[in-house]
Amino acid sequence: MSNIRFEQIEGKSLGFYILITGLGILILAALGSVYYVEHHGHFVTGMNNRIVWGMPHVFALFLIVAASGALNVASISSVFNKKLYKPLSRLSGLVALSLLAGGLMVLVLDLGRIDRLIVAMTEYNFKSIFAWNIILYNGFFVVVAIYLWMMFERRMNKFSHKVGLVAFSWRLILTTGTGSIFGFLVARQAYDAVIMAPMFIIMSFSFGLASFILILMASYKWTNRPLGNIIVNRLRNLLGVFVAAVMYFVAVYHLGNLYLAENTGIENFILFDGGIYTKLFWYGQIILGGIVPMVLIYHPITKGDRSMLGLSSVLIIIGGFIQLYVIIIGGQAYPMELFPGKEVLEGYGDIAQYLVSLPEVFLGIGGIALAIIIVTFLVKFLAFLPESLEDDLADLYYKR
């Protein structure tokens, strides 16, 4: 590591200020939305008593899941001792923390009683997976902050492997917890599957790496720093494997559910006759977020093109949002099976309607903006980014 020079970005260009201003406006818009919803109540949102978790949860869970995955690059370096990724470790930790901060902002600002956050921090029901997650999310901040300290402080470098191992384990448990929020909901046909936990882990690998790649490429392009093909191609291959793994888990989840008679209703709904949810599943999640990125990543024509990798990452992120939308909103829209063997004629049993409102979208986008603004500020004030990631340097590290 000795001859890798980490340096802050200058952060004085017009572009930098435009970026900060733009993100600041988005964050202000989110806070305005929060005030509006808090003041009036959730009736101004599209959420209701059937779709109790709406668009904010799609954003929040995407960011939380991606946060956990963004740490993978650092983990590969510290835990699995892949030297090539070592120069990226600091940025990986930073992106992880930033995405988590954005996700948590959205999650807590959508509570019905935001003023009672202190209750959430002082009253714990240890049977609740949600309470475990509060501890896991807060712990992630601490663990990754210590991990970054081990990386930044030369005297502490020798501990980075061990702390990296803790961080890696923590992120796996964290995403297990996030997936289990759904996996343990026994009453709902769309959830109630232990496979949700590993599926969320692999989703985190994919969404987190796609987010990391975009931030990496943008920060090197905008600061005119060299970013060689060796590192980019390694990340590209890794991304391809993760996308394929997500598709595998999705296939196993749905095929498994189809096999169980009790779940054929929800499977027919999502896969065949669920209107918008079926369209989102096939066109958004599978084709746009899975097959097209895979083709772009592996097809000989597009394989070497960096902008195609950027496009793949964007599509994976959009597909990820759609996947979470289908899971969260679609899963709630389909009615619970209250009376097996009977048809509910009146009073319950219809497909729940949900119309996303602007305040919900603004709040969600505010979470993304917060994540990006944290990265932007911190790379300006601390040395997160290597001065150069050109091929001969990367090659040197790879061979070590």
Binding site: H42, N49, G112, R116, V119, K342
Partner: protein
């Protein structure tokens, strides 16, 4: 030491005595009131409902819903959409797929012995009393709605707007979750839930499931009854017959 009591000393002594008496008296009074109002809740009782769908008419169910609304003060929300308005009791019509038999029933919080809402609530706001009544502590509820995700009966509602003119016994609040309380404020005074009172037949029986002399216990011993989603092993306090 035979000191004459001057006016200043007299006032001092009187003030001290008055304060002392006031403190002791108020303590006694509070204790007395507390012991009067605080009926011990134990697990020796398990409150429950038995709803006979063969006897329950659609008019009965409408009456139950209205009585619940009147008693608890929900349903007057003006800004919430129909899917956002609270619904502590639902009127359901179900048809057996094989026989086409149609049944009407009232669906409310099932007051599970193992309530999923209590398990998932991060702040202990969702809780079950010793006597089996499942409630939400409005002071602890942060409005995360995870309990609504977990409830197998879609029995909980979220308050989507600011409320006015609430019932004294039922403080409801914007941004918190609520559900049927089995009229706990009445039950604790030895009364019957409002929905049960509204039905002029034996279509709905309320009582202590554990008490062998109670009508609900005796009826449940002789009629075929079922729990909704019995497969979830929640041992609900609300039972149905005729479905």
């Amino acid at each position: 030491m035979n000191k004459a009591l001057n006016r200043r000393d007299f006032i001092k002594i009187m003030n001290a005595t008055t304060t002392g008496v006031a403190i002791v008296a108020s303590g006694i009074t509070l204790t007395t009131f507390a012991s009067v109002s605080e009926t011990p809740v134990t697990n020796k009782k398990r409150w429950g409902l038995l709803i006979d769908t063969n006897k329950l008419t659609e008019t009965d169910i409408d009456g139950m819903v209205n009585a619940c609304q009147q008693e608890q003060g929900w349903g007057t929300e003006i800004r919430s959409t129909s899917s956002q308005k609270p619904g502590w009791i639902k009127k359901l019509k179900i048809k057996d797929k094989a026989t086409n038999k149609v049944s009407n029933l009232a669906l409310m919080c099932q007051h599970c012995e193992e309530p999923p809402c209590v398990d998932v609530c991060p702040t202990n706001a969702s809780m079950k009393r010793e006597d089996g009544i499942v409630l939400v502590d409005k002071h602890l509820c942060i409005g995360c709605r995870y309990c609504m995700m977990a409830c197998p009966y879609d029995a909980r509602s979220f308050v989507h707007e600011t409320l006015n003119n609430q019932k004294e016994h039922m403080p409801r609040g914007k941004g918190t979750v609520e559900a049927c309380t089995m009229c706990v404020h009445k039950v604790d005074k030895g009364e019957t839930p409002a929905c049960v009172e509204s039905v002029n037949s034996e279509a709905v029986i309320f009582g202590n499931l554990y008490d062998e002399s109670s009508q609900i216990n005796q009826t449940l011993k002789i009629v075929q009854s079922s729990q909704i989603r019995a497969d979830l092993n929640l041992n609900t306090g609300v039972r149905y017959s005729g479905i």
